[in-house]
Symmetry: C2
Subunit: 518 residues, 2 copies
């Protein structure tokens, strides 16, 4: 079975039915290896009334006015002074007029360009995209053993991301290629993402120099001038909760925002430890932190596209361990979504991020506690949507393949309930009448392939059939799916001149970089 | 550790924080072994606009007017004729005025009494309750082996249902005690539920005689006169989709509705086979079927409490196998909720019903695909909320214990976001300031035990700690939890005279019942 066949088979439910406009659009251009941007066709869920959102907003602004936020970088401090903020050392107190003026400059929607224009997506507004995980030092490999990640693993995950129809990005550091020296690692990460997939990707943020290397490599692929104005990647910057934007993050912001590349401004909050032990209190704090970051990007380049964001997990108050798919994590997601809409900001959350060590029942419960909330909260950039295990320490092949399949279902879900064949369906009921069955009706014959989500890693066979096939649990089937996908992988085309340019760039930079951190 | 301690430990998050009124109420009367009725403190999610709900409603009514519904029982047909329906043979065509007049007689809320008044719950309106699964011939036992269920297993599941704080009912046939002859089995099922738990339970519906035995046994516990008017159990009646209410179900309805005992009127729909291959079409059909059943109960006893309901799974269109937690199942749940609210009917859906054979990742993804929808759809009677595996063929001990823990989280979730300590939390942020941590603040010390859901079957320990403890997957930990709970079980008090009365009744009935079906 070819890659195209595989993808077509997975696509069919959405192709022919879900998502209305998307479905029809997808039908026109076959074959395709990726769903277009998910245009949401269901309403958002508001967990609290508007007054509660206003109250949280107001408390966030009071924090920035009274306590302020640290910006630990001289240039940033100078810029804040010039903008009229109340600055004392590295502490920046922002009055609400200044803050909201800056936040209002961020576009509510932007285009994120892929090297293959068919993979270009729309971020913000009523659009959602799914992005694989980021940052795992470990992998749970195809034999379900936990070990350090390697460049081979990273290549594999970029291949899987390319092949998964509902993933809209290749991320970048899905796992760390631990065998490569840290100062050189970023070059190989970006190279792998650009080589093995043609979807949008994510930038490196661990230093100014590495962010610049990322931009240089993007320039080789997209054109040096093009990447000064057109978003081709997204980069993550985390506030150190509570209320600190540090020099490394600010450096990354400078490189990317000045090139009009969108940043995610996302406090990384361990709720109960780096925030108060209150879900609402945590949201008010994280909102303040994210808004301060968003505002700073608009000093760097007014009107540059940005993503308001959050990563919020509760901690086990006995051990301090981060948890994953818990009720409060879902509830906080709804609040963040409501705030993002209030500010008309594109926003990022996380989907399948779990605490489970294995792709087991816990992982499943956690995953859909969170993804269900991400979808109904109307998140635009749904990150960590494939592979995540163990609070992000591990990327699992089985989990990755599982998540890719689940995303096809979520894509269909968010595409809404199709009413276009409703009268036909009612005619089928009249035709069948009491005690009949529908399998032979014209409506069924027309719609049976597309009516319902038809997963393959999930198993709905009879117990006897399942037993005859080895009584495999989902974790085992997930690994098999990943292995089979990798067998079918075919590399997307990349101009040989560009490919050579990337290799030369890496060689040249490596010649100038030490193998050790200094 | 005593049962009370176990339950108190599990209760603490909800006790002190979630659910506001509920939380405070729970605090007053300690010790308790069960959460009170869940009073929802979050809004419902409406997946389509009101016009779409009206459209579905209208199509459902047209089906009942034009096609009609079969009622395969002479007495039922006579009653429909007397009520003025258009009857032809066993086909009953209902005009919308008659139908809606009858539906309007059903109370929007009712009290479901338990033999221990502290376990009495409220059904309908803004209340939700969780009920364990029903009807499994197989169990997946404490050693994770699949085999036929026994009376010992059933006793165990009733014990677990009693001990689980967020379960509000003992169900009845959680698994079938397969070693007991079918004609006598119902006596032992009801006896086990009444003996091992003091929560509300569910009636037997497989024949008129067995329904009458159920009522007689309920009468021994609650008083013969009491159970003629006061709901003490809920019984399930399924429409045979499409559009057939058969004699067995109608007989059960007669017994229970005439005694004012609530029925669930729930089509059992394999969407794509017994309905059209359209989620919206399936809902319109199931709505028609359920409304016809609800209306009939009001001929039997006007004003009797009833539950509008559905069991809807999509089928794999290639094999006909029922699926579980798929996107369409969740979407259809939202539609059914909207319709129930339109009719002001208490309504039942299913929570954790999955197709997975094991308590593995698939089971987890499916479970929270559905429970998340059940909670946001505002379901009142959330059935199959513990134990369900393999499309209901199997009840798993590990799954049961897992679900019981997850329900504590969902109970907290639906209790809403507590704002009562919001100002305190904001004071904590001012106290801590940038780069501090919150673990020592007064607010944290006051709230650390109750702020966040703290599961124990789910594992958030470090990889090293988890490995040292045997690197157990969730399925294994679930079985251990079930085993440990059973060790701590203490039987609730039951008056010795009543206990003897039940034993005598069973002995007397068994003397008159054959071991074989005739």
């Amino acid at each position: 079975m070819s890659t195209t066949d595989t993808v077509e088979a997975e696509l069919s439910p959405v192709h022919r039915r879900g998502g209305g406009r998307i479905g029809r659009k997808a039908l026109r251009g076959a074959p395709m290896a990726s769903f277009p941007t998910l245009v949401r066709n269901i309403p958002v869920y508001e967990i609290v009334p508007d007054e509660a959102v206003e109250l949280i907003h107001d408390e966030s602004l009071k924090i920035l006015e009274e306590v302020g936020c640290e910006f630990r970088d001289d240039e940033a401090i100078s810029m804040w002074k010039a903008a009229g903020a109340d600055v004392s050392g590295t502490r920046v107190r922002l009055d609400r007029a200044l803050l909201m003026d800056l936040v209002a400059k961020v576009p509510s929607e932007f285009t994120l360009n892929a090297r293959n224009p068919d993979r270009t997506v729309q971020v913000g507004g009523n659009n959602s995209i799914f992005i694989p995980m980021y940052g795992a030092p470990y992998v749970r490999d195809l034999d379900n053993k936990r070990r350090y990640g390697t460049l081979d693993d990273l290549n594999n995950f970029h291949k899987l991301a390319y092949m998964a129809p509902a993933l809209h990005s290749s991320s970048s550091i899905i796992c760390e290629p631990m065998e490569i020296a840290v100062p050189k690692r970023h070059l190989h990460i970006i190279h792998s993402a650009l080589k093995h997939s043609d979807k949008p990707f994510m930038g490196i943020v661990t230093s100014k120099e590495r962010a610049e290397d990322t931009m240089a490599m993007a320039g080789l692929v997209f054109g040096e001038e093009y990447v000064k104005d057109n978003p081709v990647l997204v980069a993550i910057t985390n506030c150190n909760s509570p209320l600190v934007w540090d020099a490394t993050m600010l450096d990354a912001m400078k490189v990317y925002a000045r090139n009009n590349q969108p940043l995610i401004l996302a406090p990384f909050a361990l709720c109960g430890a780096s925030t108060s032990a209150s879900a609402v209190g945590a949201v008010a704090q994280v909102n303040a932190e994210a808004l301060a970051g968003v505002a700073f990007t608009q000093l760097l380049r007014p009107g540059s596209p940005q993503l308001y964001g959050q990563f919020m997990v509760t901690v086990d108050m006995k051990t301090g361990a981060p948890m994953g798919g818990t009720p409060e994590a879902a509830q906080m997601m709804y609040l963040m979504g409501a705030l993002a809409r209030k500010y008309s900001l594109p926003w990022r959350t996380s989907g399948f991020h779990v605490g489970s060590k294995l792709n087991d029942a816990q992982a499943g419960y956690e995953s859909n506690m969170l993804m269900h909330a991400a979808i109904l909260a109307g998140a635009n950039y749904i990150w960590h949507a494939a592979g995540w295990l163990e609070a992000g320490l591990t990327c699992g092949y089985s989990k990755f393949a599982t998540d890719c399949e689940q995303l096809v279902g979520w894509y269909k879900y968010a595409g809404g309930l199709p009413f276009d064949d409703f009268q036909e369906a009612m005619a089928a009921i009249r035709e069948v009448g009491p005690q009949g069955h529908f399998l032979g009706t014209e409506h069924t014959l027309k719609h049976f392939e597309s009516a319902f989500f038809m997963p393959s890693v999930m198993d709905f066979n009879s117990f006897e059939q399942w037993s005859a096939e080895g009584a495999k649990d989902h974790d085992t089937r997930g690994s098999e799916k990943a292995r089979n996908m990798l067998k079918d992988y075919e590399e997307p085309k990349l101009d040989e001149g560009i490919a050579e340019g990337l290799r030369d760039f890496i060689a040249q930079r490596e010649a100038n970089l030490s193998d050790t951190l200094n």
